[in-house]
């Protein structure tokens, strides 16, 4: 499974994930306090400048990941134009794009392992309270492993459908997909149990 981390190695890739997330929280909160178009435009320009720093490949990937907010930009601007407060609409739109861009930047510069390690550290207080977070750490790789499996299986089902029917495959494929997923869950559950079961110790060490 391909993560959204950028293959272009930046200096920020090596910064601690916790630091980047903390900075993201602070900056996002700060963005909400900026008044007017000028400040918000400056903030967005600053964020886009950060995108440009590692080079054109990184910048292009970053801008591509921002494309999903474009429909909202169009809707927001049209909406505010209709209600007659376009300046406020422009400020809000700039802030929205800056917020998404900033968050994407953290995702693009943080390897998946760092994120998983951060989750482990953030859930440490829960372990101290006696909650079993080991189940969470077991479930994360299972999802990463089984998503492509289910996607491939859905494609196989769609192929089998097309070989037999002239109609397009649709929601009918979801039933066999669900049944197979439930069977998989039973097998995985048994396999986990056979290999010593889910870690259920209440230890508090990291």
């Amino acid at each position: 499974m391909i993560s959204l981390t950028s293959p272009v190695e930046t200096r920020a890739h090596r910064w601690p994930a916790g630091l980047k997330l903390g900075a993201l929280c602070l900056c996002s909160t700060g963005l909400f306090g900026l008044p007017g178009i000028g400040w918000n435009a400056a903030a967005l320009a600053l964020v886009l400048g950060l995108y440009a720093l590692p080079g054109p490949v990184f910048l292009r990937a970053g801008l591509a990941s921002l494309r999903v907010v474009l429909p909202f930009v169009a809707i927001l601007l049209a909406w505010h134009a209709l209600t007659g407060d376009l300046p406020q609409g422009v400020a809000i739109t700039l802030r929205m794009v800056a917020l998404v861009a900033l968050a994407n930047l953290v995702t693009m510069t943080t390897p998946l392992e760092d994120m998983v390690a951060l989750i482990h550290r953030l859930t440490a207080p829960l372990r101290r309270l006696g909650l079993r977070t080991a189940a969470l750490e077991l479930a994360i790789p299972l999802v990463i492993r089984f998503t492509p499996v289910l996607v491939a299986r859905a494609e196989t089902l769609a192929e089998a459908w097309r070989a037999r029917s002239r109609r397009r495959p649709g929601w009918q494929l979801v039933l066999p997909l669900t049944l197979q997923a439930l069977d998989d869950a039973d097998h995985v559950g048994e396999a986990l149990r056979a290999r010593g079961g889910a870690p259920i110790s209440l230890d508090t060490e990291d």
Binding site: M1, Q88, I92, L99, V143, E155, V174, L177, A185
Partner: protein, 190 residues
């Protein structure tokens, strides 16, 4: 225990797969992704707690940077985008759907799952989704709601499909629905 973890993980993977497979599109002309169908199914099949856990696990992986949302979106930007309310509403929607099927003893399993999916996957999800849109865009809630209401017919279709799928599941594999008591075995509890 192990089976529960596996089921939660597999349904999180289902929510992801349903959003990623272009072959499973619903609707007529306009392709509607099946991602929220996965959320409704997680609640209706696994029940409130495990359904919400599956949707929450899915969200966690999105936040970690995996492109699992419909259209290959993912990362922390999702939670700052105008659709953040919908994404964050997934676990709540699955929980409410599950709570309904667990608490309301209506007869055909498909009917109760369908109504549960409407309540959780539409009523609750759209309140949270429109709320998120209103906050991010700085617009009144009513206006935000009018903007997202276009998608309600598609989601009604998904709730109906959830009902049909659960009905078929209850017939093919009744033991997979922990909340479902097949007729005649009302007294036996697993």
């Amino acid at each position: 225990m192990e089976r529960n973890i596996a089921q939660v993980a597999l349904f999180a993977a289902m929510i992801a797969a349903l959003g990623l497979v272009p072959q499973i599109t619903l609707g007529f002309g306009v392709p509607i992704t099946a991602q929220t169908l996965g959320v409704m199914l997680a609640g209706a099949v696994l029940g409130a707690r495990r359904g919400a856990a599956a949707a929450g696990l899915f969200l966690l992986l999105v936040a970690l940077g995996l492109p699992l949302l419909a259209g290959g979106r993912g990362g922390l930007g999702v939670f700052a985008s105008p659709t953040a309310g919908f994404a964050l509403g997934f676990p709540v929607a699955a929980f409410v759907t599950g709570l309904f099927v667990e608490r309301v003893a209506l007869r055909p399993a498909g009917l109760v799952a369908g109504i549960g999916a409407v309540l959780g996957g539409i009523v609750v999800l759209y309140i949270l989704g429109a709320g998120g849109l209103a906050i991010v865009t700085g617009k009144p809630l009513a206006e935000a709601f009018r903007l997202v209401a276009v998608f309600i017919p598609g989601d009604l279709l998904k709730a109906a499909i959830t009902g049909m799928l659960v009905q078929a599941l209850a017939r093919a594999r009744p033991q997979t629905l922990a909340w479902h008591r097949p007729a005649g075995s009302a007294q036996t509890r697993l």
